[in-house]
Structures are given as structure tokens and as C-alpha cells.
């Protein structure tokens, strides 16, 4: 068993936050100088093979974060609600999978929620300064007072996690209980889990613990057991132990190789530079042309020609049948036909 995190101390200095503003490593739509010293990275490890699907974690998340899910419908399946919502930061997803090798029906249960990516796509996509921050311990947190509710984070996230509230129009997702972690506690879900399928500690401790679990699973015939810490997003601060780590997608579409979509990279990268350059170039070209060529003015001669044209033809000359033949083939002389 993994040693449980002790209960909080009641001494006043234990309430002093262990990380905060000064530990912000990335801030959406802002340049920050990362703190010189990085905090020890934390991680939550979800051992899918130990989960019994009791949803204690899902309930604990609602409770700790003071959230109430709407009363929904029973769709005849265990998932409830059917997807993550602005109130459901974590959701148990159930898959009935027939193992082609053994022909056994396996009931795969995965606790879905924010992975706290080392390279967070949500933060990269966000246009609002400071609406998403990443602390140097790896926690990615949304700051609701800065969020404008645009939903760009949804497009940036490779795991389809953030949700926009219809009430306050800001984005919500798992905070990794940053408020609890700040005072030395584990996340509420971890605390509630009766089987220790969820454990929390430093990232290294979690990897070591996962190794131990994977060895155990292998010894029980799960040859492909492994750790899900996808490198496409630089690793994550929520990791899974999967008994079929060779095919993550059987676990309710957990991405096999998650990475920030190349379209998002193009949108937030080259489009911005090329776009700003193109607009700047257009404006500069106009300005330069004006300075060099000067304004295009109507001359007195033009006015005279127009007067001659109108007077010469006089009002209502004949039926307005054939307009004068357009002579577009060559440059029209200045003197035109009107003189």
C-alpha cells in the first residue's frame, strides 16, 4: 500500500500556502520569466486496474469544489452525467471491451479529467492574459476573473477537457485541488478513493509506485501493462496505470498519442506572425505610396472636360440607346472624344 497522506496539521503555519503567484511558470497570453527554482513536480496517479467504479472521487470532487450537477436522465449506462460539464470536473467513463486474445469481456473504468499537461494546449490557445496559469509544480489552473469565455482552451486541449459555464461564461476544469495541494493535502478525489486506485505525491514517487504496480500486473499476465505519461504533451501531472497500455484508446477514447494539434500550432504560431506582418506591410505600403507618389488629384482640365462633355451633349440628347462605344483596347488619350 502507498503510504497515505497524513491528515492536515491544525497549527496555524501549516495553512501557509506552499506555492502561489511567484511559482507561475506559464501564464496565458503573457510573457513571464519562469521562477529560477522549480518546485518539485507533483502528480496524481490513477491506477485503472484498481478502480472499482464506485465514483467516490466524482462525488468528492463535487463536494470539495462546492458544485452541484443538474439532475439529468438515466441513459441506461453507468456514466452519469454523459460527459464532463462545467460542474463535473471528473467523470468515470465505463467501457465494455472484449479482449480479442482471451475473448473475455473486460470492464474498463477510467477516471476522466484534466491531465495537467507539461505543455498545456489550453494555455497555449487562450487569448486572455492570466486566464490560465501553470505553476512550477505542474498544476494548470484556470483563473476565472481573467477568463472571457471564448472557448479557445477547448480547441487547444488534446484531451477535450475544459467546459464553458452557461452561468458565468467562464471555463472550468479540474484544478488538481490546487487549494488543497497548497496546504499539503492531496486532491479530494485521492482522499476519497477507497481502493487507493488514486494516489498523489511527487511525480517521481508516482512513477516509482507505478513501476511497482506495473510489475505486479505483468506478473498476473497483463504483459502490456504500463504507465500513461504521454510525451507528446511533455508528460502529464495526472498519469494512468493501464493494463493495456499499448492501446490507450480502448479506455473510452483516451488519445493514443496526444499532442497539441498541428492546426492549433499553426493558428497560434505562424498565422499570428504572418498575419501581423501582412497587415503591417499593407499599411506601410499605402503610407509609402502616398509619400512617394502624392495624392491623386482631379485637375482643372478634368473638370473642364467634364463640363464640355455635359454641355456639348446637352440635356436629353436623343434616346438613351447605345452608350458610347467603350474603347477599352488601348489607353484613352487625355483629349478624348469630347473636345
Amino acid at each position: 500500500m502507498f503510504p497515505p497522506i497524513p491528515n492536515p496539521s491544525v497549527s496555524p503555519d501549516a495553512a501557509k500556502p506552499r506555492f502561489g503567484e511567484k511559482d507561475i511558470m506559464r501564464r496565458s497570453a503573457s510573457e513571464v520569466t519562469p521562477p529560477a527554482q522549480r518546485l518539485t513536480e507533483v502528480a496524481k496517479l490513477i491506477d485503472v486496474s484498481k478502480c472499482i467504479g464506485c465514483k467516490a472521487c466524482q462525488a468528492a470532487c463535487l463536494e470539495w469544489n462546492n458544485l452541484t450537477e443538474e439532475i439529468g436522465f438515466n441513459h441506461g449506462v453507468y456514466e452519469n452525467p454523459m460527459d464532463l460539464t462545467p460542474n463535473t470536473f471528473t467523470l468515470m467513463r465505463f467501457t465494455e471491451w472484449e479482449n480479442p486474445e482471451t475473448e473475455n469481456l473486460e470492464w474498463l473504468i477510467r477516471k476522466d479529467g484534466c491531465m495537467h499537461c507539461e505543455d498545456p494546449g489550453c494555455l497555449k490557445a487562450c487569448p486572455a492574459p492570466g486566464a490560465i496559469v501553470q505553476y512550477s509544480n505542474g498544476i494548470v489552473d484556470f483563473q476565472h476573473e481573467n477568463c472571457i469565455g471564448c472557448g479557445y482552451c477547448i480547441k487547444g486541449c488534446p484531451f477535450n477537457i475544459p467546459r464553458i459555464s452557461k452561468v458565468d461564461h467562464t471555463a472550468y476544469k479540474c484544478t488538481l485541488c490546487s487549494d488543497r495541494v497548497a496546504v499539503g493535502q492531496g486532491p479530494a478525489c485521492q482522499k476519497a478513493c477507497p481502493t487507493q486506485a488514486i494516489v498523489f505525491g511527487t511525480k517521481q514517487e508516482m512513477k516509482d509506485w507505478a513501476d511497482f504496480r506495473i510489475k505486479d500486473l505483468k506478473s498476473r499476465g497483463f504483459e502490456n501493462a504500463g504507465l500513461y505519461d504521454p510525451q507528446g504533451v511533455g508528460g502529464t501531472h495526472v498519469m494512468y496505470v493501464l493494463h493495456h497500455a499499448d492501446q490507450p484508446s480502448i479506455y473510452a477514447n483516451l488519445p493514443d498519442n496526444p499532442r497539441i494539434s498541428p492546426i492549433v500550432d499553426a493558428w497560434k504560431g505562424v498565422t499570428k506572425y504572418v498575419g501581423l506582418a501582412a497587415m503591417g506591410f499593407a499599411a506601410a505600403a499605402g503610407f509609402l505610396h502616398y509619400v512617394v507618389a502624392g495624392p491623386n488629384r482631379v485637375t482643372a482640365e478634368d473638370e473642364e472636360n467634364a463640363e464640355k462633355l455635359t454641355e456639348g451633349k446637352g440635356p436629353a440628347k436623343g434616346p438613351p440607346s447605345a452608350p458610347p462605344p467603350a474603347p477599352p483596347s488601348g489607353p484613352a488619350g487625355h483629349e478624348g472624344r469630347a473636345t
Binding site: 487569448p127 461564461h169 498565422t271 501582412a278 507618389a293 478634368d302 473638370e303 458610347p324 483596347s329 484613352a332
Partner: protein
């Protein structure tokens, strides 16, 4: 009544309200009051969209959200202004499309575009109500506004989140951002042309230009107008 019914008599580039009034200088009516109001609603919404969109496009311009009452308001208003732009431009399109149909002279005009920029206006062919550059702006705006409203709706999560998948939304936002860049460049060209070619602004403010302006820049159109009745358009 309108040009639609009388194609042989009324050239496509003569629009309701276009007329010549002799005098010194000659006055040429180019846009009706309704067309001007229509144009300015379109213009104001386009500028508001460019400003609110640019605020989200790059963090350096995020401060522009202040013009719209903050980030949340910018996010809320932008798509609605887009709807105004789309409707307003649709009406403008119906007004102007015939006069913007391509003509053979456009090719010659484009071939001489360098002469125009270099100030050798006398080398340009005589053109109708719109020259090839103006037509290009018109059609580019038309196409881009359609691209922007379609991609914009795909990104409009508040009402249309469920209509599309996340990969589709990613494509939409990339397309939207690129189309926005292009339309802003087209807009710069359009505004620059109006500033550079003196006497043009009057067309969209008072609805009138001088005869000399029409002679210089749209001589074929002027000739057509003169050869018709000088004042009331053919009924």
C-alpha cells in the same frame, strides 16, 4: 423599371440614382442616401469586428477589449456585430453586384495598374462605374464575409457548440483568423484608395462627386450618364 428589366438600354454599371447635373463644376450623383447609410453600417461593423477580433488575435492587442467593455463583452459582441455586418453587406451586395460584374476592360486596366500607381492616369483605359481594383475589393469582401460568417458560427460556442466537433472547430478558427487577416488587408487597400484618390470621399458622404472626378476615373460611366437623360433616371 430597374436595370434588370432593361438590359439593352441601361448599362449594368448605371445604378438607380446615378445622374449628372451640369454646372461648374459638373455634379455627378453616385450613391443614394440609402446606399450610403448601408455602406456606413457595413463599414462601422467591419471596423468594430476588426478591432474586437484583433484583441483576441494577439495578446499585444488585448487592450482593445477595453473599447467594448472588457473581455467578456468583446467575446459576446463580436459575433453579433458579425451578424450585423453580414446582413448589411448582403443588402449592399444586392445593390452593387451588377455594376461589379467583370468587363473586358478590366483586363486592360489591370495591365496598366502600374501606370495608375505611378501617376500616369492618362494611360489608363476608360472604365465604367467601377474599375477592376474596386471590383476586386467588392468580390474579395463578398467571399471573405461568407467565409468569416461560416467559420464564425462554427466557433460561436455559446449557441452552436453542439453543431460541430472539436477538430472542425480548430479548422474553423484557423480559417477565421486567416480570412480576418486577408479582409483587413483588403480593407486597408480600400480605405487607402479612398484617401489617395482625392474627391472620392464625397461619393460616400454627400453621395456626389464632381464631373472632373468622374471624367478622370470613370469616364465610360460619365459618358453613359451624359448620353442618357441628365437628371431623372429612365423610368
Amino acid at each position: 423599371m430597374t436595370a434588370v428589366n432593361l438590359p439593352p438600354e441601361v448599362p449594368a454599371d448605371i445604378q438607380p440614382g446615378d445622374a449628372v447635373r451640369p454646372g461648374r463644376p459638373v455634379h455627378v450623383s453616385r450613391y443614394t442616401l440609402a446606399a450610403r447609410i448601408n455602406h456606413w453600417i457595413t463599414a462601422i461593423s467591419l471596423v468594430a469586428l476588426a478591432l474586437s477580433g484583433m484583441a483576441l488575435f494577439t495578446p499585444r492587442l488585448f487592450f482593445l477589449t477595453g473599447l467594448f467593455g472588457g473581455g467578456q463583452w468583446t467575446r459576446t459582441l463580436h459575433p453579433w456585430i458579425g451578424v450585423v455586418l453580414f446582413c448589411s453587406f448582403a443588402i449592399l451586395f444586392v445593390r452593387f453586384w451588377r455594376a461589379n460584374l467583370p468587363a473586358r476592360v478590366d483586363v486592360t486596366w489591370l495591365a496598366h495598374a502600374n501606370d495608375l500607381l505611378a501617376g500616369r492616369e492618362e494611360k489608363m483605359p476608360e472604365v465604367g462605374k467601377y474599375n477592376a481594383g474596386q471590383k476586386g475589393v467588392f468580390w474579395a469582401m463578398s467571399a471573405l464575409i461568407i467565409v468569416l460568417i461560416v467559420s464564425g458560427i462554427v466557433m460561436w460556442d455559446q449557441y452552436f457548440y453542439d453543431l460541430t466537433t472539436i477538430p472542425q472547430k480548430r479548422v474553423a478558427i484557423l480559417v477565421h483568423a486567416m480570412a480576418a487577416v486577408v479582409i483587413i488587408c483588403v480593407w486597408i487597400v480600400h480605405v487607402y484608395a479612398a484617401i489617395w484618390v482625392k474627391g472620392t470621399m464625397g461619393a460616400m458622404t454627400r453621395g456626389e462627386v464632381t464631373g472632373g472626378w468622374a471624367w478622370r476615373h470613370h469616364r465610360k460611366w460619365l459618358r453613359e450618364l451624359v448620353s442618357r437623360k441628365p437628371r431623372a433616371p429612365a423610368e
